[in-house]
């Protein structure tokens, strides 16, 4: 929040709800944050906490029954993405904002050559001939470190390795030199040795192109490695936000604390952060009060009564935890209320 220039993206009170037969799933429920130009921001949290939906909301890629609720605002380059026309939002996608998915395997269309798929971005957004777009695609593939890009471009996704495919996706994302790249768990599906390479590549390319990156991950290692500011999400909300050093040094929210404790050494992949007992509650049924209460070792009656606001707990450091007003309680943890079994599977 120290940015002096106006932020590139400014999200205010973003609520993305899914209106299903089983009720309204409030996957993202009042999220606000900014991303500055050239900045790398991380969002961290467990599966189902709303990070991916937040990312998709920025691109308005939410499919029915999901919906960005009225009143939400996503300002980007001075326009509100939420209210843009279909044509305008399409003009932004892949052009000003692009995204890298976590499954390079399935994110590429199996029946087209990778070159075609990368070139398609240019064909949509730039007034380019087939040939020009192709050349550009090959150039871009080469830039992402794919050896013999010309040949590779003519191959189909199934002929490439996982790391190679992720590079293809990166090439696709950076094709139009977008202002913002959203990377949704870009390395999760990859081999440990490849993970580091891809992250390096991302950082390097960001420097070269000057784009902002929103890095979404459950892996605090990745956050530490790449980002300057971190947003911690839980149960559809931002629960803590701080510069990366501040956060690692002084995590405030018990959830962040939990994440830290479960953090593996960098390079050690772990499917799930399972050190925090229990799981994220169902999005159709967020608990009243603090949503982390049932898993929290410090919770007390206030947590049940009152939904915590974001407390300012440091310089550019906010946290959605009542501990901000009764910090001494941190010294008296108790066993969490829930046991694993009590949570019904969705």
């Amino acid at each position: 929040m120290t940015a002096t220039t106006p932020p590139l993206v400014s999200i205010r009170d973003l609520r993305t709800w899914f209106h299903t037969e089983g009720g309204v799933a409030r996957a993202v429920d009042g999220v606000s944050f900014d991303i500055g130009a050239g900045e790398t921001v991380g969002i961290v949290g467990e599966s189902g906490c709303g990070k991916s939906v937040t990312a998709l909301s920025i691109l308005r890629l939410i499919q029915p029954p999901g919906r960005i609720e009225p009143g939400s605002r996503i300002e980007f380059e001075g326009r509100d993405i939420v209210t843009l026309g279909d044509e305008e939002i399409r003009d932004i996608r892949g052009n000003r904002i692009s995204m890298i998915f976590q499954e390079p395997m399935s994110a590429l269309n199996p029946v087209f050559t990778v070159g075609d798929q990368v070139a398609e971005v240019a064909r949509v957004h730039a007034d380019m001939s087939r040939k020009e777009a192709w050349n550009r695609a090959v150039e871009m593939l080469a830039l992402t470190g794919i050896p013999d890009a010309e040949t590779r471009a003519r191959q189909y996704p199934h002929q490439l390795s996982g790391g190679m495919r992720q590079r293809v996706l990166i090439a696709m994302a950076l094709m139009m030199k977008p202002a913002l790249v959203i990377a949704d768990e870009p390395t999760t599906a990859l081999d440990v040795t490849i993970q580091a390479q891809i992250l390096e590549l991302l950082v390097e390319l960001q420097k070269r192109i000057g784009t902002s990156i929103l890095m979404i991950t459950h892996d605090l290692g990745v956050i530490a490695e790449t980002t300057s500011r971190v947003i911690v999400m839980y149960a559809g909300e931002v629960v803590e936000q701080a510069d990366v050093d501040e956060l690692f040094a002084k995590p405030h929210h018990p959830y962040t604390e939990g994440l830290m404790h479960s953090m593996p050494h960098i390079g050690h992949d772990q499917e799930r952060l399972n050190v925090i007992p229990g799981t994220v509650p169902a999005p159709t049924d967020w608990p009243a009060g603090c949503r982390f209460r049932e898993r929290c070792p410090y919770s007390w009656d206030l947590c049940e009564r009152e939904h915590p606001p974001l407390y300012q707990v440091g310089v550019a450091h906010v946290s959605r935890c009542h501990l901000a007003i009764e910090p001494e309680r941190r010294n008296h943890p108790h066993p969490p209320l829930v046991v694993e079994e009590g949570v019904a599977a969705a």
Partner: protein, 323 residues
């Protein structure tokens, strides 16, 4: 690839051999001799009787008859059609191109139409248009072939006489027409039967294609396409359709029996001179060799059809093409 083809053709040969065995069993298990009507008929010439005897070895022991029968079949000989007074294979060879023409047009037409309907439905999934088209598809899907053909005949040759009542060409004037007029004459006669068969086959395709598209839509690469800024229509047409066409190709093979069956009724009702008409007429004349020939040829067509579909599948799917 070639090895695969060879293996499939080998399987096909086994299948046809089994079909031949089944038909042979049918003939010989039947009460009374299906050939007695021919053998005792004074209107049947001695030549035909000799041919039949040779073909089926009617006075020989059963195993010998069987070997003989299979051997003849292997050489493409299917016996003598006494109602046509020609070899069965000659009758079927004359009729087959007409049936294939009808089936080919209906195949292309029904897949085109079915895919189009599915695209419209999926583009507006959940809308009234989608539901209405689904209901219409199901309605036509549930129709007996012959009934739709009767209705089509009734509607377009009696009530609104747009098309001729039957046949492949104007039987009287075709001979005296110029090339252009002949082509027009052919198309005019072809239109209604082909259209009917198309309409009969399209619902299956539409229903299948709709399901296939809906299966594909949640795929990650569709989201990738959206992310690129493509319009929904482009996504559907380019990315979803290409992938959803793969399962549809296997439907090509599966739809052969239905198309063939449909062609039988349609040829009968529109007097289209194909193998269906030949076989259906042979029912009445108890021209058993022709009926059996039709059954065997039909099975060969179905088998080849499924091989064709497999090859098409391999060709269309880059993942398989490489191997």
């Amino acid at each position: 690839m070639l090895r695969y083809l060879a293996r499939r053709l080998g399987q096909a040969a086994v299948i046809v051999a089994i079909v031949a065995t089944i038909t042979f069993a049918l003939i010989h298990l039947a009460p009374g001799d299906p050939f007695s009507a021919v053998m005792d008929n004074p209107n049947v010439s001695e030549r035909v009787r000799a041919t039949l005897r040779a073909q089926y070895g009617l006075d020989r022991p059963l195993p010998e008859q069987f070997v003989r029968y299979v051997n003849q079949l292997a050489h493409g000989e299917m016996g003598w059609s006494f109602s046509h007074d020609r070899p069965v294979q000659a009758v079927l060879a004359t009729a087959l191109p007409n049936t294939l023409l009808l089936m080919a047009i209906a195949l292309v037409g029904s897949f085109g139409l079915g895919i189009l309907i599915a695209l419209i439905q999926v583009a507006r999934r959940g809308s009234t248009t989608d539901h209405t088209l689904s209901a219409i598809s199901l309605f036509f899907f549930s129709m007996p072939d012959f009934w739709l053909a009767i209705l089509a005949l009734l509607a377009f040759t009696y009530w609104v006489p747009l098309f001729p009542v039957g046949g492949a060409v104007d039987p009287v004037m075709h001979e005296y027409m110029g090339l252009g007029a002949r082509i027009v004459d052919r198309l005019w006669h072809l239109a209604l039967p082909a259209l009917t068969l198309t309409v009969l086959a399209a619902p299956t395709v539409a229903r299948f294609q709709r399901a296939a598209l809906l299966d594909v839509l949640p795929a990650d690469y569709i989201r990738t396409a959206r992310l690129k800024g493509l319009t929904e229509r482009e996504i559907l047409r380019r990315h979803a359709l290409r992938n959803a066409l793969l399962p549809i190709i296997s439907l090509v093979g599966l739809s052969f029996p239905a198309l063939l069956t449909g062609a039988f009724f349609i040829e009968k009702i529109f007097a289209w001179p194909g193998m269906g008409l030949a076989v259906v007429n042979a029912i009445g004349t108890r021209d058993y060799p022709l009926v059996v020939g039709g059954v065997i040829l039909g099975s060969i067509m179905v088998t080849l059809g499924s091989i064709l579909a497999d090859l098409l599948y391999v060709w269309a799917d880059p993942r398989l093409r490489a191997n």
